[in-house]
């Protein structure tokens, strides 16, 4: 029966039996996606990493509550998102702690990976950097639930159903969130989207 299990579910089954090697495999596999998800909500690399670490610790401790028929990533991202929301709530209660949050979202990020300057000229690169920063800015201005939903769809490539489960809302509410996020982004980025720069720089 175990052979028919989804590989992640099989690993989780081993984790529930106390197999730390299986857990290590899961951490290795999902550390970056979990970090990315948290980082897009709380754009501070050190804090995002601490939360990602807390997320995996929670996964291990709550392993017995995992149902093998559920998709592991949905469960994992639900825990990660709840930790993010708790952190946001904590920061709203103690605003002094969130001074770092006002820092630029990409401050700690490595420099964007640009194409070779011989292929893409300097003016194009500048335009591209500006667009990247405008998109990040527009995303940052979205309400948390819209931003999370649209990024889970775009970056994590999750289905509407999975996003709905992670966010704890209905399928139609999830579709509506993503639709509203896209419309808001299109509205804010209209002048940049019209230029067609993205296509030219592809």
């Amino acid at each position: 029966m175990a052979g028919q299990l989804d590989p992640d579910a099989a690993l989780m089954k081993r984790v529930t039996q106390g197999d730390q090697r299986a857990f290590e495999e899961l951490v290795e596999k999902y550390k970056q996606p979990v970090f990315n998800l948290i980082y897009r909500t709380l754009p501070d690399a050190a804090e995002a990493e601490d939360l990602a670490q807390a997320c995996f610790v929670q996964v291990y401790k709550a392993a017995s509550r995992y149902r093998v028929e559920a998709k592991f990533t949905t469960w994992l991202f639900t825990i990660a998102r709840n930790l993010c929301l708790n952190e946001i709530r904590r920061r709203s209660r103690h605003p002094a702690d969130s001074l770092d949050a006002s820092a630029s979202p990409d401050e700690d990020a490595p420099a964007p990976q640009h194409e070779d300057a011989r292929i893409v000229g300097a003016p194009d690169r500048l335009m591209r950097d500006e667009l990247v920063s405008k998109v990040s800015e527009a995303l940052g201005e979205l309400p948390e639930n819209q931003r999370s939903a649209v990024l889970m769809f775009q970056e994590q490539e999750l289905s509407y159903e999975e996003i709905a489960e992670i966010m704890g809302c209905s399928l139609s509410a999830t579709k509506s969130l993503i639709h509203r996020a896209r419309e808001a982004l299109k509205q804010r980025l209209k002048p940049y989207l019209k230029t067609g720069e993205w296509k030219q720089n592809k």
């Binding site: 995002a48 670490q53 998109v135 940049y192 296509k199």
Partner: protein, 171 residues
């Protein structure tokens, strides 16, 4: 934009996962509704976001270390631990009820003592004004009580001047 086919196509455009056939359909659709082109541009823009930084190379070992760390038993945690005891809230509540009860009883006791003192004083006044038959001389008692306000304002420590009262009563 309620057509589910178009919605599905937009999703694929946003995700950048169009087949050749879907690309043809999309191109035809954009010719009819040029505004849809923005979806493709937005999808591209989102896909070109700066990638988040890489997690530290020692991330996994830190997670495992955290798991294997023995439960913290330092003194600071120890003395705070009892605050989390489920019976703590009930005990605190019971103590608060007892304290409130004690204060109320104490207050009642003080009021009763005050009342006793007042009655004794009043009885002294009445017996001084009408030593033999107070009920036979109500007007004398009333005359004394007319000065009640002035008497009330006398300091508590001042002893009752029964001689003065007797003199007033005899007038």
């Amino acid at each position: 934009m309620k057509n589910p086919d178009i919605e599905e196509l937009i999703d694929k455009v946003m995700a950048g996962r169009l087949t050749a056939e879907e690309e043809r359909r999309w191109a035809a659709l954009v010719l009819q509704q040029p505004d849809l082109e923005e979806n493709m541009a937005l999808g591209e823009a989102l896909r070109n976001l700066s990638p988040p930084p890489e997690v530290s190379s020692n991330f996994t070992s830190r997670v495992l270390e955290e798991l294997n760390r023995p439960a913290r038993t330092d003194r600071a945690d120890g003395w705070l631990e009892w605050l989390r005891w489920p019976g703590f809230a009930r005990l605190t509540g019971a103590a608060a009820v007892l304290a409130v009860g004690f204060i109320v009883l104490q207050n009642q006791h003080q009021r009763r003592e005050q009342m006793d003192k007042t009655v004794r004083t009043f009885a002294g006044v009445v017996s001084a004004v009408a030593p033999n038959q107070p009920s036979a001389q109500p007007e004398a008692v009333v005359a004394v009580l007319k000065d009640f306000e002035a008497i009330r304002r006398l300091p508590d420590s001042a002893p009752v001047d029964y001689g003065l009262l007797a003199a007033l009563g005899s007038n």
